[in-house]
Symmetry: none
Subunit: 218 residues, 4 copies
């Protein structure tokens, strides 16, 4: 169940494997239930080792949570790294970045939920993690580069704030996943059909492009 055959092969005397196993279960449990809602017992039982090992490797529940949060970030940023935009013209690059982010978030709901949970806790642990901060700054760099190129070519309005743009892209992409349950509960599940999701994604791309466009286009 969720463990690859490689993981299953053998594990005694494989500390790193044990740790990875625990972390992957932990991410899933914390993402599903929040920090207080998650149970150390449940995490342990879904693991191939015992509860004692969690304390052996991670100290306490909070230590496990912190490491699970980092693990979730690392995994998701790995996926982002594959995106190469340098060879595309600015508008195309931006459109692709937005579409990619939208899809990428959809594919990583556990990551989204970890961030939701962090926000419930006022991002206390996230703020404490240098690892995570570094990862995000890298994400902004990509966007800043596109802006610079677009401005240089006179296609984008001058003075764009990459962080504000990131905010706008994130808002749509994040909300789409984070609030799916409430939105579906209230308005029905149709908005999450594949077709409707493509519309929302295109709508979002369009909105972002409108923001960066020089006002003459208006």
């Amino acid at each position: 169940m969720g463990t690859t055959t490689e993981e299953r092969r053998s594990w005694t005397q494989d500390p790193e494997g044990v740790k990875r196993d625990i972390l992957s279960v932990a991410v899933s449990e914390f993402a599903a239930n929040g920090f207080s809602g998650a149970r150390v017992d449940t995490i342990a039982s879904r693991t191939r080792t015992s509860k004692r090992m969690i304390y052996y490797y991670f100290g306490d529940k909070h230590g496990l949570y912190t490491r699970a949060l980092e693990a979730a970030y690392l995994k998701v940023r790995e996926g982002e790294a594959s995106l190469d935009l340098d060879h595309l013209p600015p508008a195309k690059a931006l459109a692709r970045l937005v579409a990619f982010t939208f899809e990428h978030h959809r594919e990583n709901p556990d990551f989204i939920r970890m961030v939701m949970i962090e926000n419930i806790h006022n991002a206390k642990n996230l703020a404490a993690s240098q690892v995570i901060r570094d990862l995000n700054v890298a994400a902004i760099d990509k966007l800043a580069d596109i802006c610079r190129r677009g401005e240089a070519e006179g296609l984008f309005r001058p003075g764009l704030d990459p962080v504000a743009l990131h905010w706008q892209i994130s808002a749509a992409s994040f909300f789409n996943v984070s609030n799916r349950p409430s939105f579906s509960a209230i308005f029905g599940p149709e908005l999450y059909d594949e077709k409707a999701q493509v519309c929302l994604r295109d709508q979002t791309v369009e909105a972002i492009l409108a923001i960066v466009a020089t006002s003459t286009g208006k």
Copy 2:
């Protein structure tokens, strides 16, 4: 804190007052700590009655949570009711609706957090509450009316989906509040300065207007 002078006057034999008092504390505690993180004891101690009364009126922790969720919705939708858009031309009305929603969400962080928490729990309780569903459908009606008027005047592109539009407006307004802690932790608190918030709001208004605009404007 949050109790009106009328509520403070006297309370023995004032069931409704007691209930309101409990609910208002409950919203604040659940919003701050989530369902599992909130403590019935803590809620009780911040109340002018005892823990026993919580069970007397709400049955159990979950019953209290459900009612607190409804209370949060009711309060926030009351605020929305004050917005009158019928006398404005469609684009102006839409711009105002977006700006209002953006501000309104900022002013009701506890409500936002309750919805976040609900989403962590897959909106199970929200789905079960007819009260909440009704409130939201009403919110869509306002938007549908603006769309219809805009389309009739040839200012908006035909075939707009009010729910998709609501999604876009909510995404920005909700995310702005829900992810403030993580965003601030990573990029610094500047984006939440009053000035920067106005920029984000305007940017959002602009993006929404771009979406509804007839494609000739492109």
Copy 3:
């Protein structure tokens, strides 16, 4: 539900009716759940008055229990009073008394259960109730009379102890009802079919008659 139309007619200003109503519900609840298992709230809710009235009339849960126990005894002994054995010859009278007791117990399972519960509590309340002791002594008198007549006629062995005989009659009649659930659970419900019950009753009558018979019959 279980309330006669007469009881339903009107009740304000009818203290005795209210008390009877409460007691009848109390017997049923205590019989079903034992003293600790019974809930004052449940009793109240099955009553046509409120919980407050229980305390008004019976002081506390224990007071109610005591009165319910007495009520159960009174009701069951009323039934017994109808039995007239004086005109029958001793053996016939005894046979009839046994058969009657057997049936009477079957028809009053709540009474049996009240006695079971009392025994769990070491008959503390029963011992304290003069009412109940008097009722039982009266029951013995009937039996003693039969014994005396049987002995006088040389049909019964001399020196019979009416209490020991009562014990034997009660054992079968009581056990038949009190242990029906466990017996059925283990050996199946067949022993409680009407036909099988008649056999058990006859078997019991026969056993009792054998006990009192003069040893010459052996």
Copy 4:
């Protein structure tokens, strides 16, 4: 009290010993107070471990009760196993079985009380326990064998139902213990003097023998 010297020796890291200790206290407490009347705290305090261990090993109060019920049955049936009747002629064997059962029940009042309590709860838990059903069926076998032998020798009337006979034996033996408090309360404690108990036992043996005897003896 009730713990063997072996159990007393040492207990850390002795799960089976701990479980046995808890169960023995639990039987005594449940037998004394019924399910609702028993207190987990009280049980724990009479144990050499803590309340927490009860939940560790038995899950909850109900789980403990179920296991205590089984433990009571197992213990009592163990005692019965020692009875060897095969070498006795049928009537003697039956007489001995009855007398033995009578005494055995007297010596195991906690077991009797557990069964009483189960009957108050409609034998719900007893019905669910395969362990207990098996034990009882074994008890019937012994009786069936005696009947078969008695019938074969023409000493017992044909067509005897072992279950009905078991019912009759149980009735007297069980009632003698279960209703001792109420009987003593009403008729005084004399019937439970050793001498009177022997009389009752003999009376019961006689009654059972009379039931199985061929009617020619009448």
